[in-house]
């Protein structure tokens, strides 16, 4: 009985699947889905050799500081970093006084101690990076209706995050003539900017890094080309997204060594106990 009912259910579901398949296949052959510009012109991020790649990866503090400088001077005009506390900048190699100065340069929301009215005060190391806009409506209003996303986790919130950020920042270009020839309706709308690394190719953000030397790097640092600045800020955002990466990998190396040792011992004791016992 179970088997007869089971077979009927099986024939029903398998049959429906095969029918759906045939139907879909006929439709597919009859009118293949139209190609889209996103499908054909979207590009995957190019690989950069990062210091934080691989099991021995580490953050290059000088690079993170340069990236922080790019963030401060360029990105922070629109993008917040609200998961990050000033105190954690110690990981970039800043000392206490420098962190205090960095925090103090930013106004954080507060309450006027005399009137109780909303006010601001200079930041302290324990504060997080303050929001750029008072709320989403203000952010959208100031940016042609697109809200600039918070960047704290951006390097983990996109596939292949650090490479993606670097490629996106260096990927702005004019729409290829070939694209317009093939997809005349896909012209980049007014106010958006073509970028093949962006999922739907058209991005509200204008190219933020446009000229060499836009940010002035300190003495002994590499030349601030657009590519260099993009790499530096991508590395910095990898750090904001994964500040404990170095500790994680160091712990991991020790754990793996310990486990290999323990597993060899466990294997030997297994062999010892089973010795002479055919199995």
């Amino acid at each position: 009985m179970v088997r007869i009912l089971g077979a009927l259910v099986g024939i029903f579901f398998a049959g429906m699947m095969l029918l759906s398949f045939l139907w879909g296949a006929i439709a597919y052959v009859g009118s293949p889905p139209a190609a889209t510009a996103e499908h054909e012109f979207h590009e995957h991020p190019t690989k950069v050799a990062w210091t934080f790649d691989g099991p021995f990866g580490y953050y290059d503090k000088a690079q993170l500081q340069r990236g922080f400088q790019v963030y401060t001077e360029v990105c922070s005009a629109c993008h917040s970093l609200h998961q990050v506390a000033f105190r954690s900048l110690a990981a970039l190699g800043y000392n206490e006084a420098e962190i205090k100065a960095i925090a103090k340069a930013r106004q954080v929301p507060s309450v006027d101690p005399n009137t109780g009215e909303p006010a601001t005060r200079p930041g302290m190391p324990a504060d997080h990076f303050p929001a750029v806009y008072p709320n989403d409506v203000a952010a959208a209003a100031a940016n042609n209706n697109a809200i600039p996303p918070d960047l704290s986790l951006m390097a983990k919130a996109r596939h292949d995050g650090a490479n993606y950020i670097h490629s996106l920042l260096t990927g702005f270009r004019n729409q290829p003539a070939e694209l317009l020839k093939k997809f005349p309706d896909s012209r980049t709308p007014e106010g958006l900017h073509y970028n093949p690394y962006f999922a739907n190719l058209n991005l509200a953000m204008a190219p933020p890094l446009t000229a060499e030397g836009q940010v002035t790097y300190g003495e002994g640092q590499p030349k601030p080309t657009v590519d260099q600045m993009s790499q530096d800020v991508a590395a910095f955002l990898m750090w904001t997204a994964e500040p404990n990466m170095e500790a994680r990998k160091a712990t991991g190396r020790a754990v793996i060594i310990f486990l290999l040792f323990a597993t060899v011992l466990a294997y030997l004791s297994y062999r010892n106990i089973w010795a002479g016992k055919a199995h």
Binding site: V2, R3, G6, A7, V9, G10, I11, F13, A14, G15, M16, M17, L18, L19, S20, F21, W23, G24, A25, Y28, P33, P55, Q83, A85, S88, P149, S152, L153, K156, A157, R158, H159, G161, A199, A241, P243, N244, A247, R248, K249, T251, G252, R253, V255, I256, L259, L260, A262, T263, A266, Y267, S269, Y270, N272, I273, W274, G276, K277, A278, H279
Partner: protein
């Protein structure tokens, strides 16, 4: 509930004697996973995965309980509280990555455990109850994992909750009220997040309870083995301790190495980047996909693209969405009937040449379903998953009963010991002096 030759617990220490008289808990452990449980001597490494699943559950319980001390189940701050754990809690990143990847490795282990049962016929009499309880555990795991994935309140959390509770909305008439009731609102929100947290904390303990029943039911007939031939005498078994505790110890070491590689060197490899974006009801992700361990079932769900209609009238009997939901649930629930669907008297796939071919096909099929379930819902993935889903149902419901009727199994060994000794080229009689000398 054991073989007559099982060793007996005899406490020597007066304290243990005293405990044994008042509460024979050590005796219970001794008989369950100690020297008092005789186990077939020929278990291969696939038999490690039951214990490994228990280890994975333990990891989840320990890390989960600590995470709950720092997590805030409130839609306004849940996402930031997870980041607080990652940044400010001592070793918080380790706890969270271990918990998130612990879920993945738990499913990897359990899938291997299930497929081991499928290949070696562990679901067959007299172990049907073990199998049934195992399917219950699997269902509970799926519910727990789904609700756990909602808790970080990222984009995939939110939209996953929307899609999965939306499955119930496909039920005619009462569907939408059921979805509203499940969520405590018209969309996932604070009410849903709170009840999911509550249930996510509760269900693992229910799982632990059902695991106890699963092991209890297993100990009545005793463990199955790769030959599928039942234990016939003391020479067929070894005591669980030290033989299988040692073997499981080695297995646990390998398991922990794989787990540590994931947690320390690729903690986000199995996750979706969108869940690092805070939940936003106003913005739907381009592709909503569940965690990888649900992909095969998700592929079956999405494979139904055609309504069931009365031909030439256009009257819809069952809409495609409901069919997909029914098929997805059926794909798991059919496992409950497996012991009575597959009537072949031979348990182990080792002696079933025809079954073995179809079993390999099933593994490939499920992998294809998994791949398609993680891919976007577009061609050719939908058509491939339709073919794969058709085979999935046909395998369990049509092919298995047919094989049972037509297959001519290979000759079975006379006993476990005979099979073991044949591997070293000996017969039972020849082996006696050798074995005696060795032991």
């Amino acid at each position: 509930m054991s073989f007559p030759w099982a060793e007996h617990y005899t406490p020597k220490n007066p304290l243990m004697k005293w405990v044994d008289e008042k509460l024979p808990l050590p005796r219970l452990v001794y008989n369950a996973v100690g020297a008092g449980y005789p186990v077939p001597r020929n278990l291969n490494f696939f038999w490690n995965f039951g214990v490994l699943a228990g280890l994975a559950l333990t990891i989840q319980l320990v890390t989960g309980i600590i995470l709950a001390m720092h997590y805030a189940a409130n839609a306004g701050i849940a996402f930031d509280s997870v980041e607080h754990i990652m940044r400010d809690v001592n070793a918080g990143w380790l706890l969270r990555y271990a918990h998130a990847n612990g879920a993945s490795i738990f499913f990897i282990v359990v899938y291997i455990h299930i497929f081991r049962g499928l290949y070696f016929g562990s679901y067959k009499a007299p172990r049907e109850m073990v199998w049934l309880l195992g399917v219950v555990i699997f269902l509970l795991m799926m519910a727990t994992a789904f609700m756990g994935y909602v808790l970080p309140w990222g984009q995939m959390s939110f939209w996953g909750a929307q899609v999965i509770t939306g499955l119930f909305a496909a039920i005619p008439v009462v569907g939408e009220p059921i979805q509203t009731w499940l969520l405590g609102g018209f969309a996932p929100g604070n009410a849903a997040l709170n009840r999911f947290f509550s249930l996510h904390y509760l269900l693992p303990f229910v799982i632990a309870g059902v695991i106890i029943l699963h092991i209890w039911a297993l100990h009545i007939p005793g463990s199955s083995n790769p030959t599928g031939v039942e234990v016939k005498g003391p020479q067929d078994t070894v005591p669980f301790h030290p033989y299988y505790t040692a073997k499981d110890g080695f297995g646990a070491g390998v398991f922990m190495i794989v787990f540590a590689l994931l947690v320390f060197f690729g903690p986000n490899m199995l996750g979706h980047p969108d869940n690092y974006i805070a939940a936003n009801p106003m913005s739907t992700p381009a592709h909503i996909v569940p965690e990888w361990y649900f992909w095969p079932f998700y592929a079956i769900l999405r494979a139904f693209t055609m309504d069931l209609t009365i031909p030439f009238t256009g009257i819809v009997l069952v809409p495609a969405k409901l069919l997909g939901v029914l098929a997805m649930f059926a794909s798991i629930l059919l496992l409950f009937f497996l012991p009575w669907i597959d009537t072949s008297p031979v348990r182990s796939g080792k002696y079933r040449p025809l079954f073995r071919k179809f079993f390999i096909l099933l593994i490939v099929d499920v992998l294809i379903l998994g791949y398609c379930g993680g891919a976007p819902a577009e061609e050719p993935y939908v058509m491939i998953s339709q073919l794969a889903a058709a085979y999935y149902f046909a395998h369990f419901l049509i092919i298995l009963p047919l094989i049972a009727s037509f297959e001519r199994p290979d000759p079975l060994p006379g006993s476990i010991t005979e099979a073991v000794l044949a591997k070293s080229g000996l017969t039972v009689d020849e082996a006696k002096p050798v074995a005696a000398a060795a032991e």
